[in-house]
Structure formats: structure tokens, C-alpha cells
Amino acid sequence: MTALIRISHLSKGYVRGGQAIPVLLDIDLEVARGEFIALMGPSGSGKSTLLNLIAGIDKPSAGTIAIDGVDIAGLSEGELADWRAANVGFIFQFYNLLPVLSAFDNVELPLLLTNLSSRERHDRVAAMLGLVGLTDRADHYPSELSGGQQQRVAIARALVTDPVLIVADEPTGDLDRTTGEEVLSLLDQLVHELGKTIVMVTHDPKAAARAGRMVHLEKGVLVDEVPETIRGA
């Protein structure tokens, strides 16, 4: 498989109170097209920062991130926004749906940045809601949906523009085990049936075990192999 994501000598640091705090140190990583990868590590290890950099919502201090041949580290804010709209689907731990919009409108949101007609948008949203099994909940507002249903709406929103990459930040972190399993099955389905590439951050070893590959981060350094004790847990 060809690499969709190529990360080379990537570093990220912050300055707090005049003191430089390194978060990621010289990361090299490749993710193949159609791969489902889980980023794991303890709190403060830099896994969310790495995910944000891959998603193009943060900028590295050094190094390159090439997604589908585009070095996103060199894009301006405006170019990055356009790039994200076209290439990245987001799934957040707390769903991040707009509470004043119905499930249908929330899924339609990213399509407003495209040139699709109203009819085309409608068809796409209906298809995505069908894919996540929420056709009958299209008119419901987030507050009228369970956590699992809200996350499925978020997944439909992430898929609706047909992005090459889906980033998921603790997608099961706010769900009970059964609902979390359902969401993970849905992510599996996206990889195996739709060929999507997913990069997921998780604390949960069981959730990580659903990914095709696990990458472990510790103190900003990437550890390729996850210890057996964790993988088998």
C-alpha cells in the first residue's frame, strides 16, 4: 500500500512562562492509505498534539507532514482551512455537534463549503445518516440523542465530504463499553468497506486493539512496538 501520511523529523514545542517545553521530538512516521492506526500513550505523551498536527489544526515547530503528497506544514492558515475542508474528517471525544442544529443540519455543515447544490447536499447527508443507521433521527437535535447516536452523527459529518483522512480523538472516551464497541465497529467498517484512512487517539487498549496498527508515544518520542501486555489487555 502507498503511504498517505509521511511525517519526517517532526518536532513540536511550546513556550510557557519563558520556558521552552518540548512535546514531540523528531518523529518519523508513515501511515498507509486505508490503514487504521491507533496512537497511544500516557497523558502528556504528545499523542493528541501529533493528531492535531496530522489534522492540520496545529503547526509543527520543525519537520514535515505530507498528506497525500501535500506538505501541510508549509500551508498558510487559509490554505490549511481549505485543505481540511476537502481532506479531513473529524471525530471528537465530545462529538462537538452544534446544539442548535438538527442531526441532518450538523452532517450538512461541511458540505456548505463545497459547490454542491442543495439537492446533492441533501442526498449525500441522507446517505451518510443511512450509513450510520440514523435515518429516522435526522430531525432530532443533539440533546434528543444518546451519546452513541451523537457520535454516529459526528461520524456521518466526518464522512460526508468523502475525505481521504479521518482523525478521531478518543472517539469512545465518553461512551459506555457497548456503545463504544458499536462506534469502533463503524470505524472498522469505514476502513474495510470504504477504504478510509483513520488515525485515532485513545487511552483504551481495547479500542486500540481494533486498529490495524498501534503506535505508542512516550514523552514525545515515538515507540513503534506496543508492549504485549498492553496489546493483549
Partner: protein, 385 residues
């Protein structure tokens, strides 16, 4: 369309907060409109004055009279087409609270100078024939429920005694700016009575009203008149009717400035209140704006959302405040009686009310919109509203 739907839903997300903000706006905008209308009413005499009328009065003070025999010399001044005169009567109708202006005039020369007074011909004739008759404005007649033929007793303050007049005619103003709150009586009747009671005060005129041929000649004609009576026992001061009216307004200019300042302060207060509301609103939705930006929406979209929401709330509050001003002004008008001859909410005031409301909305959204457009997506996504 989607945008409008979104900002409409956002605007009413916290119904109580939005309602209270709107109530504040309604109060502020209606108070702003009412105070402006009061200031306008003060200047109504100036607004309603004619550019073809000059007022000639004593150079010493308005309380000093001019001789009646100035008439012929005034008529001979180049540029003067008509001359009439009037005296302030200053009577009390039942009680001092019922104040309204009363003038003794020479109807034959006075009425042609005031074509804005529309009078039924039969009534006019009845007034001209009855020397004890009076002519009143419609607003004044309505206020006291006077009908034609009704006796109107006035207790004189400048001219002692009780004077009973008969209502013979009522005029309607040609437009809303025309004063309809005055009473006009026959100067000759007053002068005759004065001649009998205090001969020394007879044949005295309060002011002369001069009709001129060309408004542009007002300054020149005024100079000619005043030059004519220079170094006489009763020197004159001639000015346009507008300037004459303005001299009364200027006496209370400090009050007017205070009223205008208060009206602006009210707008500033609601601006601060609304800015606080919009800042709170934006802060609560930080994660939502960060999500929109993560999805690829531009900072400009977030700015439009906040400005749109703020302007929508301000527009609704502004229109409601504007509509409330009209009944408020009517209630105020009836409460103060004939103190303000012309009291109406002008189109300019309404436009200023709307502009003030939208200005409040725009200013209130400026800071939170700027802040939200610059939020760091990663930090924003971590925020729990």
C-alpha cells in the same frame, strides 16, 4: 439561508438572556427617541418659522413695548411687503397649570402673514366681526373641549381683570410643524380696554411682524429697519422669525444639552450591557467556533455569525423600541398639555433610533467577533462551555 437560520437559532438559544437584552434595548431606544423628540419639540418653533417673516422688537428687551406709530414707517421700508403686530396677553385659564400662549393681534394684517393657519371662511368672518371673539388652534380647542360659541374666561396677569372672550374660529395647521396651541384675540379690543384703565400703556406694541419679499434679503431689510429707528427713544432689534424663536430656545440650552447627553449615555449603557452579553455568548460557544474552524470554515464565517446574531437582536429590540416611542410620545404629549405646541416623533428621530440600535449591535459584537476569529483551534476544542 443556512447562515440566517443558524444565527436566528443562536440568537434565541438562551431565550431569557436574549429577552432581557432586548428589553434593555427597547427601553434604551425608546428613551433615546423620546428624549430626542423632547429636544425637537423645543426647537419646533424654530422649525415651524417662516423665512419670509421678520420680528421687530425693542432693542432693550422683549418686555419693553414699541410705539404703534412705527407702522407707517415700517411699511415704507424697502423689501417689506406686510406689517402686523402682536402683544403677549399672558392670561390664566382657570389655573396656572393650563398654560398656553395668548396674543392680541390685528387680525386683518396678522392672518395674511400666517397662511399656514387654515381657517374656515365663515368662522374667520365671525371672528373678524366679533371684537371679543377669539381664534384658537385645533390642538388647544381639543385639549379643553372648546366648541364654537363657548365663553373663554382669562384672568389677566399683565392686563389685570377677568376677560371673557367667545370662541369664534378654530384653525388647523397646514402641516404637523404648525403650532395649534395658541389663542389669538383682537388687539384693538385689548387696546381700548387698556386706554380706559391705564391710558399710559395704550397704543403699545409687543412685536412687529414684517412680511418680506425675498428671504435672501432678510439681513438687509433687518438692518434697514433698525437703522430707521436708531437713536430714537425706542430703538428696535429686527431678526428672522427663526432667530427670534431660537433666542427663546437658547435660554434653556443647558437643559437641552443635558437631555441630549442623557440620551447618548443611555445608548452607551445598553451598548456596554449588550457587549457583555455577546462576550459571554461567544465565550460559551468557544468550542463550537473552534469546531467550525476545524471543519474548514474561515474566521470570517465566525465573525459574520457573531455580528449577524448581535445585529439581529439589536434590530428586533430597536424596532420594538421605535414602535414603543410613538405611544410613549403620545402619552407624554397629553401629560404635558400645551407646553410643547408641536410634539411628534420625527422621521429623522426614527432613523436615528434604528441607527443607534444597529450601532449598538455592531459595537457589541466587535470585540467578541475579533477574539473568536483569532481563537486557536486546539485550545478552543479543549474548552468546555
Amino acid at each position: 439561508m443556512f447562515m440566517f437560520r443558524l444565527l436566528l437559532k443562536n440568537a434565541f438559544r438562551h431565550k431569557l438572556r436574549t429577552l432581557l437584552t432586548m428589553v434593555g434595548l427597547v427601553v434604551a431606544i425608546s428613551a433615546f427617541g423620546l428624549l430626542r423628540t423632547i429636544v425637537d419639540a423645543w426647537y419646533a418653533g424654530v422649525e415651524g418659522s417662516s423665512s419670509t417673516r421678520l420680528i421687530t422688537r425693542s432693542n432693550i428687551s422683549l418686555t419693553f413695548a414699541l410705539p404703534l406709530n412705527y407702522i407707517q414707517r415700517l411699511r415704507a421700508v424697502e423689501g417689506v411687503t406686510q406689517v402686523s403686530w402682536s402683544n403677549w396677553f399672558g392670561g390664566v385659564y382657570i389655573t396656572e397649570r393650563n398654560f398656553f400662549p395668548q396674543f392680541a393681534v390685528d387680525p386683518a394684517t396678522y392672518l395674511p402673514l400666517y397662511p399656514e393657519y387654515k381657517i374656515d371662511e365663515a368662522q374667520k368672518l365671525a371672528f373678524l366681526r366679533d371684537r371679543q371673539g377669539v381664534l384658537v388652534g385645533r390642538k388647544l380647542a381639543d385639549k379643553f373641549g372648546w366648541k364654537l360659541g363657548d365663553p373663554i374666561p382669562l384672568r389677566g396677569t399683565i392686563y389685570p381683570g377677568t376677560w371673557t372672550f367667545t370662541l369664534r374660529a378654530i384653525w388647523d395647521g397646514a402641516d404637523a410643524k404648525t403650532d395649534e396651541s395658541q389663542l389669538l384675540m383682537h388687539w384693538s379690543y385689548l387696546n381700548e380696554s387698556v386706554r380706559q384703565r391705564a391710558p399710559g400703556r395704550a397704543d403699545a406694541v409687543g412685536v412687529y411682524i414684517l412680511g418680506i419679499d425675498e428671504p435672501n434679503n432678510a439681513a438687509m431689510v433687518s438692518q434697514r429697519v433698525d437703522k430707521l429707528f436708531a437713536n430714537s427713544l425706542a430703538e428696535t432689534m429686527t431678526e428672522t422669525e427663526a432667530a427670534f424663536q431660537l433666542s427663546f430656545v437658547s435660554m434653556s440650552e443647558a437643559i437641552l444639552v443635558a437631555v441630549q447627553a442623557v440620551s447618548l449615555i443611555i445608548v452607551m449603557i445598553i451598548m456596554a450591557v449588550m457587549a457583555n452579553t455577546m462576550t459571554m455568548t461567544a465565550r460559551e460557544r468557544l468550542a463550537e467556533y473552534a469546531t467550525l474552524k476545524a471543519l474548514g470554515f474561515s474566521p470570517g464565517f465566525v465573525v459574520r455569525l457573531l455580528f449577524g446574531e448581535s445585529l439581529l437582536i439589536a434590530a428586533i429590540g430597536g424596532v420594538a423600541g421605535l414602535l414603543l416611542t410613538i405611544p410613549l410620545a403620545a402619552a407624554f404629549r397629553s401629560a404635558v398639555g400645551t407646553l410643547f405646541p408641536v410634539f411628534q416623533v420625527s422621521t429623522l428621530t426614527m432613523a436615528l433610533q434604528l441607527a443607534a440600535a444597529l450601532g449598538v449591535g455592531a459595537v457589541a459584537a466587535a470585540w467578541p467577533a475579533w477574539r473568536m476569529s483569532r481563537i486557536d483551534i486546539v485550545a478552543g476544542l479543549r474548552h468546555v462551555g
